[in-house]
Amino acid sequence: MYGRILRKSIKVRRKRIILAVIAVIMGASLISALTGVYLNIEEKVGKELSSYGANIIVKPKGDDISLEIGGVNYSSNQQQNFLKEDELYKIKKIFWKYNILGFSPYLSTVVKVGPENESVVLTGTWFDKEIDIPDEAFKSARVGVKTIAPWWTVDGEWINDEENKPEAILGSAVAKQLENRAGDTVSINYNGKMIELKVVGILHTGGEEENQIFTNLATVQGLTGLQGKVSEIKVSAAITPEDDFAKKDITQMTKEEYIRWYCTPYISSIALQIEEVITDSDALPIEQIASAQGNFIKKIKLMMMLITLVAVAASALGVMTAMTTSILERRKEIGVIKAIGARTNQIIALFMAEVAAIGVIGGIIGYGLGIGLAQVIGNAVFNSTVAINVIVLPVTIIIAIGITMIGSMIPIRNALKIDPVIVLRGE
């Protein structure tokens, strides 16, 4: 009999049931969409912030004081310590390998250039190449300056790492000083050794890179006799912001705490893991980039969380009022059923069944719609899909059913308490 009453009720009150379901769908989809976006926001914003470039610098342990301004090394004396080029691939084998977005090695020296024998900094690096990473699922990785300095603008051509031609990219300040343009040849003199490089492009960044000449790492290694050696590595890593736990002294941590720290992509743990694979190195966060990235991600995450909470609360309350309204208008019905002798719990069961059905259907459809909305947001804003987080489904359904039932319980209970005579009278 319950089934028949339920079905007849739905048939007669079709329009109003649909309205209630719409209200639930709207609330549930908002909850599902915003929660889905919130859970992904750290990864999405982190990826956007990686366009600021490298946030970790790896240098040999115990190296000398260098003459550096704005990241350009003007030291003419030879360094004592170097890092090994053949260990570089290991950076993509650390625990947080998937968070390593790119890296590039550097070897700099001061050379004399041109007919005037002017002193200029010559820097060898990788520009854009794929290196093999043995024993890994991804087999190879893209590395080079393009992966850690995406803002570089080169007028002309980039250098092709594979071809290893004697080519150079001049920083625009150097090009002006030496009066060279693309197509010219510059003669480089290193302690009597001479090489000629063809200028293939001029670099514009607005920053101090414009004071350097860039060429293949191998060229500088050959020139200086430092084959297989590099003086520093810049790494771009996707990091999680430092919280109080990260700031703890690692020597004071218990074993469990250390494992937890190691397995969280804090910049400090990624830096440590790099030090573990590159012999005799010091890996430091580039604070200018790393701390600003961390703080910004924290703020946006907090903002999204608060907004999601506000929207979830307001949606839930909105759904509740929709249910309350629809029950309130049925007080007469409740009164009639009571008057003809139905027991309180039977009445509750009858109404709750209807309400629960509305909650479930509305919740499921709303969840699905919300997933779609989350993808729309993800694609429109970040050009990527929003990962479907399994936890959103039970959360949405539970909230939908819970809220619809609570929203209905209160008016039903109220209606049941009153003498049916009063309700039937119409008040």
Partner: protein, 426 residues
């Protein structure tokens, strides 16, 4: 009489009216919160992004570089003129030289530390900063320098400072013959007249380093600097002292400028600065400015999308509630028709009620929304969200309209049906 009917109706159906108002409040507050945040968001995000550091560098222009002329402190003061130059968040002038500590060549940086603290907040300093206002000769050293030379806070550091050779005379003939050089163009005029190609800073560092006389000066070490960048290898003294010691009275090599980019693109501020301070050129640091523009756009877009979706979602939710409210009163409508009321008058009663619900709910919802926006603003950005007058009429008009539209369909339907049918109960 319309008033009396509406008031009595509200009195009798107090509970249901309150519920309907509550539904409107929920919807209106959500929208009000989001719109208030969205309107202010760009400014807040732009300010947060200044934590990445200066996005503009002010340098002497090419003519000055050829003459060995730098930027003067008076000219820098023009950056404070907010009437002519907008959106400068902060700036820090710098003067550089190469000196020796214990036979090691080291970069000596003269700076204003209050300004550095503001625009380069990532500097990690152990000990204390140099005090711009005190007369004591203090020094901060990069952590590499401290480690290599074994310095501790409180030690006395002897810097051997090079006296700059005055090059002014050798360049005077040139000034008449050089033309204004386009910023990124390559001109032969300046170079060919002088055997030594014009030594622009910092490229001149390498050739001038071991020449000239060095004079020792003692400083008290007050702090060590760690940044992971060039600062780790440098030593820092007060700008005024540096200017005195390097023989460059009231001059600086460059000024790092931190520019807000939410109102105007950085190119506009850069050209304003070049216009107000003739003889200088600006370089936009594309590392900072490109990433910044991109991120600002995305965060704003995200906020707008979320706001629009919430608007639609809560709008539909409110509508469904209001429609249900009216649908249940079809009998009333039938009754009024049966006793002779005109359709228009009946509709007016319901619209008046709906309008009242929309208005009251809208006002309360707006206020609640503003409060919630402040909470979000204070927790996330540590500042209050600005007050935007336009949001009030927009919110109220939308809630009233929404309430009216959602009543229109059921009321419209109900007045058109034969009262007999509605009175029967269907």
């Amino acid at each position: 009489m319309l008033k009396r009917i509406v008031f009595k109706s509200i009195q009798n159906r107090k509970n249901r009216i309150l519920v309907a108002i509550f539904a409107v409040i929920m919807g209106a507050s959500m929208v009000s919160t989001l719109v208030n945040i969205a309107l202010d968001l760009n400014g807040k995000v732009a300010k947060e992004l200044r934590a990445f550091g200066a996005n503009l560098v002010l340098l002497p222009d090419d003519i000055r570089e050829n003459n060995g002329q730098l930027i003067s402190m008076d000219e820098i003061d023009k950056l404070k003129d907010t009437g002519r130059i907008n959106d400068v968040y902060g700036y820090a002038p710098y003067l550089y030289s190469i000196g020796k500590i214990e036979e090691q060549n080291v970069v000596i940086v003269g700076g204003q530390f209050e300004n550095i603290k503001k625009i380069s907040p990532w500097w990690k300093v152990e000990g204390s900063w140099n005090n711009d206002n005190s007369d004591e000769s203090t020094i901060m050293v990069g952590n590499k320098v401290a480690a290599k030379l074994g310095y501790k806070i409180g030690d006395t550091v002897t810097l051997n400072i090079r006296e700059e050779t005055d090059k002014k005379e050798s360049f005077t003939e040139k000034t008449d013959k050089t033309e204004k050089i386009p910023v990124d163009g390559i001109s032969s005029a300046s170079q060919s007249l002088n055997g030594d190609a014009a030594k622009r800073w910092p490229l001149n560092i390498l050739s001038e380093m071991n020449q000239g006389k060095y004079t020792p000066k003692q400083f008290k070490l007050v702090g060590t600097v760690s940044t992971g960048g060039s600062e780790d290898n440098q030593v820092f003294i007060k700008l005024k002292e540096a200017q005195l010691l390097f023989g460059k009275k009231a001059q600086v090599n460059l000024v790092q400028i931190s520019v807000l980019t939410n109102k105007n693109p950085i190119e506009i501020t850069a050209s304003q600065i070049e216009k107000q301070i003739p003889g200088t050129k600006t370089r936009i640091l594309s590392q900072i400015s490109k990433a910044e523009g991109n991120i600002q756009d995305k965060i704003l877009f995200l906020m707008v999308l979320v706001t629009v979706l919430t608007l639609i979602g809560s709008g539909l939710s409110v509508m469904s509630t209001m429609t249900t409210t009216v649908l249940e009163r079809r009998k009333e409508i039938g009754m009024m028709k049966a006793i002779g009321a005109q359709n228009k008058k009946i509709a007016a009663i319901f619209y008046a009620e709906a309008g009242a619900v929309g208005l009251i709910g809208g006002i309360a919802g707006y206020i609640l929304g503003v409060l919630m926006a402040q909470i979000v603003g204070k927790s996330v950005f540590d500042t209050f969200i600005g007050f935007h007058l336009a949001v009030i009429p927009v919110t109220l008009v939308s809630t009233v309209l929404l309430a009216l539209i959602s009543s229109k369909i059921p009321v419209g339907q109900a007045v058109n049906i034969d009262p007999v049918i509605t009175l029967r109960g269907e």
